[in-house]
Structures are given as structure tokens and as C-alpha cells.
């Protein structure tokens, strides 16, 4: 099949949607499909051969955070050209109501269009204002996918209609085979836990973890907290106060180091306070064999099957988080049971399974003929 995939977010910076798009493209190519990925990319950024640039990206506020998006007449022209020259059997757009390349492609094409909704957060006020623009374009989508039950609920509540759930893909085997690193492994009396995420972003929950440190250290004086992620080290130490000595700030880590880190530590802590539609990193930690302790966000609760696959703690509650971590560290048998159950359950997120489901969706809509440029979209021509 000839498949055109559009990512609205710039590939210059890493992100959940970008990672999913590039991973899916790789899997589809390995499966013998012909794939072209269109995304905003600045000149000079190294990208895989099957990526086509939709032009440079601009950082703009949208839907509650700042995103690097591509829009404007020049991008629109590139998108139209890509659609016209691609002769695709299926077009797969990600986050189609983001003002970027996906939306432009939606207007530029007719035929089988699949759209994946990643976000579980849509601002209803902004959406209401944009409804006359958004609804007609959404009608062009033949099949909707949501990456989680929470993302699906958002689609149902805000946009009407429905979506099928196909989760984000994870390379389960890569994490399962990751080498452990002695420096990151816990020792008797000195267990290790890992935190991943940008330190300054409040919803990643580093602050909650910092406040949980006193109780954690009271139970395990030798505890080490390995922190991977971008951010101001001095500010992080200040947050931890007298317990800063327990922190080991690793800074941003490579994908391989992340896998090794998750494979080495006794527990992975996810104290996020919101904004998570799925929780890929939880699945990665489960694949690597770390026991997961996460805040009880709806999406995390679903990934952890309400506590069967990992411990859950009340959102934004340092005392509850400390108790949940202690509960995992102090009961080796329970820890082993959680890890074993999690290892079996993550198979359903493996790329092989996810790709098969996505291809089933492609095949279902591809009956409707091939993708063609929409002649009517010419009236949007401004450049």
C-alpha cells in the first residue's frame, strides 16, 4: 500500500506524537509498505529518508501549551503538492484539528483518510469558536483512531461520532533486552527509583516527588533517586532541600540510556499531575522490568489496569506517593508479581500488534478508491 502520513508537530524536537509517527512509518516500511511522512522540519535537521518537509515550524501557543507547528501559504502549497504527487492509497493524519500540516492535508485531499487523535485535552471554548471550520473538515475523515480510551472520550464528547482505540506502539523487546547498569541498580539498604521528564514542567510532577523525599528517606535512608530529563539542576536541588543528596541528576538521556535506566532501577515513579492521554513511558518501564508507581490519573489507571500491573497513588499527594513507593520497595514478592504481570500485559502495545491493527483500519477504508487532490481546495490558495 502507498501510505502518506502527516505529523503536525515539528520533527526538530522530540515528542510523543512525533515518536509515534516515525515509529509507525518504520514498522510499515518493514512490512513492505510504501510510506512518505510529511512534517514541519527546519532545514538542516537530520531526518529519515522517507520524511518530506512541509516547511519550517513556528512556536505558537495552541490548546494550552506552546507547540512548534507549520502553517501559512507556503506550507499549504507544499502540502498540496505532496498530496498531488504522492498517489497514496491511504492518507493517515495525526492530530487533525491542530492548525498545522495535518489540517492542511485534510483540506487538500479527498478519498480514504484515517485520522489519529492523541490528545485527551481539548479546550472546549476554543473548539466551539472553531466549530464551523473544524466540523466540515472532520467530515472528510473516513476512519478515526484514538490512542487511548481517554482520547476516545475526548473525541466523543467534543466532536461527536466515535473512534476505535489503537494504542501507541512501543518497542517492547528493545526495553526487555536493555542492559542493566550496575551504577543504577539498587543495593540492599540503598534502593534506586527513576524519574523521567522535564523538571520545570509542573504537570510532570517532579515537585510532588521532591515533597515525598522526606518520608521516602525516613523509610530508606540510602535511597537514590535517578532523575533523567532536561531542566535546571540548581532549582531541582533547591526543591529537594536537605534531601538533595538523594538526587542524581542525569540530565537528558539517550533512548538506549533510558531503556537501561528503566531496566536497572527497583521502581519507576510517575508522579504526573495531568495532561497524559496515554502514558507511553509507563509501558516502556513495564517492558524493561521496572515496578511502576504512578499517580492515579485516569489514563495511568487504565494502563496499570487499576493497580494490577503497578501501584497507584492519589494525584498530587506526596504522602500517598511515598507510601506507594515504600509498599513496592519493602515487599519483594509483591514487586516481582507486579513486574511479571506487567511484562505479560505490555505485549498488546508492541509495535507488531499495533501496526497490524492500524493496517486493518487502512484496509477497511482503502476500498473507497485512492487519495486524490481536492480541486475545491484551490480556493484557499493565497500564495
Amino acid at each position: 500500500m502507498r501510505i502518506g502520513i502527516v505529523c503536525p508537530y515539528s520533527l526538530d524536537v522530540p515528542g510523543g506524537v512525533q515518536g509515534h509517527v516515525l515509529g509507525l512509518a518504520e514498522q510499515l516500511i518493514a512490512g513492505g509498505h510504501d510510506v512518505s511522512v510529511l512534517a514541519p522540519v527546519d532545514e538542516g535537521t537530520p531526518v529519515p529518508r522517507h520524511v518530506v518537509s512541509a516547511g519550517g515550524a513556528v512556536a505558537v501557543p495552541y490548546n494550552g501549551s506552546v507547540a512548534r507547528l507549520g502553517f501559512g501559504p507556503a506550507t499549504a502549497l507544499r502540502v498540496r503538492r505532496w498530496v498531488a504527487e504522492g498517489r497514496f492509497d491511504v492518507l493517515h493524519l495525526h492530530e487533525p484539528i491542530t492548525p498545522s500540516a495535518s489540517l492542511l492535508a485534510l483540506w487538500a485531499a479527498t478519498g480514504p483518510v484515517v485520522a489519529t487523535f492523541h490528545s485527551a485535552q481539548l479546550r472546549s471554548r476554543a473548539l466551539q469558536a472553531a466549530a464551523p471550520l473544524v466540523l466540515p473538515s472532520l467530515e472528510r475523515i473516513s476512519a478515526r483512531i484514538a490512542v487511548s480510551e481517554d482520547a476516545r472520550r475526548t473525541v466523543v464528547d467534543h466532536l461527536g461520532g466515535d473512534a476505535v482505540v489503537v494504542p501507541n506502539g512501543v518497542d517492547v523487546d528493545r526495553f526487555a533486552r536493555a542492559a542493566q547498569r550496575p551504577a543504577w541498580q539498587g543495593r540492599p539498604g540503598a534502593p534506586t527509583v527513576a524519574f523521567l521528564g522535564r523538571l520545570e514542567e509542573p504537570r510532570k510532577g517532579f515537585g510532588v516527588l521532591a515533597q515525598a523525599l522526606p518520608a521516602l528517606r525516613a523509610a530508606h535512608p540510602g535511597l537514590r533517586v535517578l532523575v533523567a530529563g532536561r531542566g535546571d539542576a540548581a532549582a531541582a536541588r533547591a526543591l529537594a532541600g536537605e534531601h538533595a543528596g538523594a538526587l542524581e541528576l542525569l540530565g537528558p538521556v539517550s533512548e538506549d540510556d533510558k531503556a537501561s535506566l528503566l531496566a536497572s532501577v527497583d521502581a519507576y515513579v510517575a508522579p504526573q499531575t495531568g495532561g497524559e492521554s496515554f502514558g507511553v513511558v509507563l509501558v516502556e518501564a513495564m517492558s524493561a522490568g521496572a515496578a511502576v508507581v504512578a499517580s492515579a490519573l485516569p489514563s495511568f489507571g487504565r494502563v496499570l489496569e487499576d493497580g494490577r500491573l503497578g501501584a497507584l497513588a492519589a494525584v498530587g499527594d506526596p504522602a500517598a506517593l511515598a507510601a506507594a513507593v515504600a509498599g513496592v520497595l519493602e515487599a519483594p514478592a509483591r514487586r516481582a508479581a507486579l513486574v511479571a504481570a506487567a511484562r505479560a500485559a505490555v505485549r498488546r502495545y508492541d509495535w507488531r500488534v499495533v501496526t497490524e491493527q492500524v493496517v486493518a483500519v487502512y484496509e477497511t477504508v482503502a476500498d473507497a478508491g485512492a487519495v486524490a487532490p481536492d480541486a475545491g481546495s484551490a480556493r484557499w490558495r493565497l500564495g
Partner: protein
């Protein structure tokens, strides 16, 4: 009325007319696209349902099932393949789904998967069931969106839908039994 006022009025009327014509044309194009989507997705659904029924029939006639299960499955598949009219089809498809669940409990699926022919037939049936579920979801989505647009005032007052009948969703129980070797079924959440 002086000449400039008349001229202004004429211009204003013309502008309003142009706007009305533009709105009507745009909505007509939108509706046309939706009707097309309803047709193609419905054709796809019909094809997927036939494919599912014939996969069930093949399994029934393979000689791998006990005669009673085979008869149950074969007759349900036959009914689905031969059903005519919306109501009859929807009933027959739901019956086929129930027959599949009844004839293929986990123990039977495990036994069938021990042989190459059984594995192939089950894989085939599983893929067909998955795709029928997806096709019905997408077809009904197209219907729901079309109905929503056809209920708008512009469409009703402008009679933009012409004589096209209001499309209807296809309701059936299509939740298949677990046929896969591992967990690879799509998980269309929520009520169906």
C-alpha cells in the same frame, strides 16, 4: 430616494445574494462529499460482512469442528450470506456473531490452533471479524455525520439533499469471540 442610496441598496442586496449562493454551494459540496462517504463506507461494510460470513462458513465446513457446532455455524453463515433487506441482514449478522461465540469457546479455539489448517482458518476468520467491526464503526460514523448536516436549516430550507433518502445506521451485534493466539484484537471501547 436619491440615486446614490438606491445604488448602495442594490450593492447590498447583491452582496447578500452572493453570500447566500456561496453558503449554499459550499454546503451542497459538503453534503455531496458526505453522501459519497456514506455510500463507499457502506459498500465496504457489505463486503466485510460477506467476507466474515464466508470465513465462518469455511471453518464450519472444514470438518475440524464437532458436527453440531459445524451445523450451527454453517446455517448461521448461510443465513447471513443470503439475508435480504436491512432488518433481516442486521438480525442475521447478529445471529452469526452469537453462533460464533457459542461454537468457538476458548477451549475449542485452543484445540483448533494446534493444527495448521485450524490456525489458518481461525486467523482468516479473526481478521475478517476485526475488519467487519471496524467497517461498521466507520460506516455508522459517516451516517451520523451526514444526518447531522442534513438536519441543519440551510440544508432543509435550501432542499440541498434533493430526493436522497436519509441514510440509516446499521445496527448489529458484531463483538466476536477471542480467536487470536494472543491479544491482537482491536479494542473499540465503549458501548456498541
Amino acid at each position: 430616494m436619491s440615486a446614490p442610496v438606491v445604488a448602495l441598496l442594490v450593492v447590498a442586496v447583491l452582496l447578500v445574494l452572493a453570500a447566500v449562493v456561496w453558503a449554499l454551494t459550499a454546503t451542497a459540496a459538503r453534503l455531496d462529499r458526505l453522501h459519497h462517504r456514506v455510500e463507499t463506507s457502506r459498500a465496504s461494510l457489505d463486503a466485510r460482512l460477506l467476507r466474515r460470513a464466508s470465513a465462518a462458513e469455511q471453518l464450519a465446513l472444514s470438518g475440524l469442528l464437532d458436527p453440531a457446532s459445524a451445523l450451527l455455524l454453517a446455517s448461521a453463515a448461510g443465513e447471513a450470506l443470503g439475508a435480504e433487506g436491512e432488518a433481516e441482514r442486521s438480525g442475521a449478522e447478529s445471529d452469526l456473531t452469537r453462533a460464533l461465540r457459542a461454537a468457538l469457546p476458548p477451549a475449542t479455539v485452543a484445540a483448533l490452533r494446534r493444527g495448521p489448517t485450524g490456525t489458518r482458518l481461525l486467523d482468516d476468520l479473526d481478521a475478517a471479524c476485526q475488519r467487519a467491526v471496524l467497517a461498521r464503526r466507520f460506516a455508522n460514523d459517516a451516517v451520523a455525520q451526514t444526518v447531522r448536516v442534513r438536519r441543519t436549516r440551510v440544508v432543509r430550507w435550501g432542499r440541498l439533499a434533493g430526493h436522497a433518502a436519509l441514510p440509516r445506521s446499521f445496527d448489529a451485534d458484531d463483538e466476536p469471540p477471542a480467536l487470536a493466539a494472543e491479544h491482537v484484537l482491536p479494542r473499540p471501547g465503549g458501548p456498541r
